[in-house]
């Protein structure tokens, strides 16, 4: 039977890449984003390339009150959900504008947590499904360069970890995957000078997520090198770390 993938935040480069990877495997695809009608070209692309069914759905991650209705409105409850919702903002503005800070916190943590909660509860009732949250290595330790974004992603990482723990304990049949992409060439990082060896293409993220879903992995780094890097960064004593600029 055809499996269905829901991508939330489907306009993002990673969201598009994930949709393509799963469509190539034969998954039917639900693309969810604000103003989803503007994803018509992406829908056509998936249909033409892979011959799968593709539907478009409006969602507002920041509007918690709409999340139940959004999930109810889906034609079928998906087998796999990938949440690629996120917003980095600019650190300087995040420091000075509380509105901006709140937007980053809500876009990366509250919104995704709300959507994943509703979906987790429905999947738990059905007793099957996989939830994939795209978090960030920025959430592994707060750094001066982007600690607002990092704090929000730390929240999401902890949320995913707890959700996985809850759903594994009662043998619900629902699995939770945490993805830590590291640097990726996307709209969000455009203009940044990123080291090529540490930076993945969006398509690599798609492949890594498909593999993690198939193999029921818990936490995945897209490029393995990041696992070592983050291990090192987490282990720097705070009295040293606070003086460093990395």
């Amino acid at each position: 039977m055809t499996q269905t993938l829901l991508v939330i935040g489907a306009r993002s480069d990673m969201g598009i890449a994930v949709a393509r990877t799963f469509a190539a495997k034969g998954y039917a695809v639900q693309l969810a984003a604000r103003d989803s009608a503007s994803l018509a070209d992406n829908r056509q692309d998936l249909i033409t390339r892979h011959g799968v069914a593709v539907s478009l759905h409006d969602v507002d991650a920041l509007d918690l009150d709409s999340h139940e209705a959004f999930v109810t409105s889906l034609p079928v409850l998906p087998d796999v959900v990938v949440c690629a919702v996120g917003y980095m903002g600019e650190q300087r503005r995040n420091e000075t504008s509380l509105d901006e800070m709140a937007k980053v916190m809500r876009s990366n943590f509250e919104g995704p947590a709300g959507l994943l909660s509703v979906l987790a509860n429905r999947m738990e009732k059905r007793r099957s499904g996989t939830l994939v949250g795209i978090s960030s290595v920025a959430g592994e330790r707060g750094r001066a360069a982007n600690y607002v974004y990092g704090a929000a992603k730390a929240g999401l990482t902890a949320f995913l970890s707890g959700l996985r723990n809850r759903l594994a304990k009662d043998k619900s049949g629902v699995h939770v995957v945490t993805v830590l992409p590291g640097f990726v060439y996307t709209q969000m990082t455009r203009g940044m000078d990123l080291p090529a060896k540490l930076t993945a293409q969006p398509a690599e993220v798609g492949e890594a997520i498909l593999k993690a879903v198939e193999k029921k992995r818990d936490v995945v780094y897209v490029r393995p090198v990041w696992q070592g890097i983050m291990l090192a960064i987490r282990n720097i004593p705070e009295f040293q770390f606070k003086k460093m600029s990395i």
């Binding site: 480069d13 503007s38 070209d41 056509q44 692309d45 033409t48 390339r49 455009r190």
Partner: protein, 442 residues
């Protein structure tokens, strides 16, 4: 960032931006003050897709939008590559109607260069299979241009090197095939006369291409292997091929990881040539089945083979000489190339058919292409070769060019003035400029 064409000469610091979809591209281009050039996958050899202040990388527009299995027409964004079309449509029985020697070209680049392939003598250039394009003009308007509507814009854009506007979308027709395999017949030719005879006798064949051994001189000048090919039908396949009719088994890619010294390619290619030449000489008319990738794209299997010429890069010389002067012109060219001792040991020879076009490269005759590592003396050698081609009524392929001068372009191609006038009339001369268009005063 520093970018270049495929020949890695020139390498120039350019502001490169990458819109992610059509809306983004239109908005981005509207925000560019002054002139800009669109860039595909960077497979033009020289400076065709370089603009210091605004080079627009179109590879983010990579959506395939529609396919009609009745007609083979595919509608796709300009950044979709031929490799994508092959991946998606070959297993459904369709192949690009015209393909150059690499599948890593975008549709936008193929239209702008009006590329040709091994079937030019029979089917014409890439543009012959384009039904329409959506193109963003100097006035910021997007127009659909075809042979019926905006036909002038359509005609000038094929081979117009991106200098008529930014191609956003195209509809093109694919050709139906029964398999992904090619029946190839290789014929050794002792000299240029013999090679041209093989081409003339192969006018009905779908594909034909020749490799010339540039080391052969005197009576042996033009010693070649001419390879003729046809798409194999299902019942022409052997058991091995029949198990994989669409050539889906993944093949490993060999990357050239570092800059090799510039002589690396040549002894290798000469050994390959000699082996094939003498092997075929022994058993005449060698015929074989070969997968489409190995047949059309032998160099694609070596990713980044352009690095083989070293850090200074290389230039490719490609001209076409009209049929009645082809023999004489090629003899003189091959003599000059051999005397120079600078060229690659192999040159590619191809018969072309007449083509009705505004500014595209092909004309009825023979085209010759070969690489030269970029050295201090290379521009002078190119000037010499270009003068020979011009003397014989020939012209040059702008998709390969990095060294031509405005004078020699005008001497070779009387259509140049009309191209410039068209750009003045519609304002494209102020809006769409590349380092090539500046160099050639287009």
């Amino acid at each position: 960032m520093k970018i270049s064409g495929w020949g890695r000469f020139p390498q120039v610091e350019c502001v490169l931006t990458r819109p992610r979809d059509r809306q983004d591209a239109e908005a981005h281009i509207a925000g560019v003050d002054g002139d800009l050039i669109a860039r595909g996958n960077g497979r033009a050899y020289g400076d065709s897709a370089l603009n210091r202040d605004a080079t627009v990388d179109m590879r983010g527009l990579d959506r395939i939008l529609a396919f009609d299995p009745q007609t083979g027409q595919v509608v796709a964004e300009a950044g979709v590559m031929l490799a994508d079309l092959i991946d998606v449509f070959l297993p459904r029985g369709w192949f690009p109607a015209v393909t150059p020697g690499t599948k890593f070209v975008t549709i936008g680049g193929a239209v702008a260069s009006d590329v040709h392939g091994k079937n030019h003598h029979k089917h014409g250039s890439f543009g012959a299979f384009v039904d329409w394009i959506d193109i963003l003009g100097a006035d910021g308007e997007v127009r659909r241009a075809s042979r019926a509507d905006n036909s002038e814009l359509f005609a000038w854009t094929l081979g117009g090197m991106g200098l008529t506007g930014v191609i956003l979308r195209a509809a093109l027709r694919l050709a139906p095939v029964e398999t992904g395999w090619i029946r190839q017949r290789t014929t050794p030719a002792a000299n240029l006369t013999a090679a041209m005879d093989v081409f003339e006798q192969a006018q009905d064949a779908t594909y034909s291409v020749g490799w010339i051994d540039c080391l052969a001189t005197g009576a042996d000048t033009g010693r070649s292997l001419v390879m003729v090919g046809e798409h194999a039908s299902l019942d022409e396949l052997g058991a091995k091929e029949r198990a994989d009719p669409w050539v889906q088994k993944a093949k490993s890619k060999k990357a050239v990881p570092i800059d090799l010294p510039s002589f690396a390619l040549n002894p290798l290619s000469v050994r390959t040539f000699n082996k094939l030449y003498y092997a075929n000489g022994k058993r005449q008319a060698g015929s074989s089945l070969i997968d489409y990738d190995s047949y059309f794209y032998p160099l694609d299997a070596i990713l980044e083979w352009n690095r083989i010429y070293g850090r200074k890069g290389f230039a490719q010389f490609q001209c076409v000489i009209p049929l009645d002067a082809s023999y004489a012109g090629l003899q003189v060219l091959l003599g000059a190339i051999s005397r120079s001792g600078q060229g690659s040991f192999l040159a590619v020879l191809k018969r072309m058919a007449a083509q009705d076009s505004r500014f595209s490269f092909p004309m009825e005759g023979y085209t010759l292409a070969l690489d030269f590592p970029m050295r201090a003396e290379t521009p002078a050698l190119f000037a010499e070769l270009e003068a020979i081609a011009i003397d014989h009524g020939g012209r040059f392929y702008l998709a390969k060019d990095s060294l031509l001068t405005p004078e020699r372009l005008r001497q070779s191609d009387p259509r140049t003035e009309a191209f410039i006038q068209m750009r003045k009339d519609n304002g494209a001369n102020l809006r769409f400029r590349s380092l090539q268009s500046e160099r050639l005063a287009l």
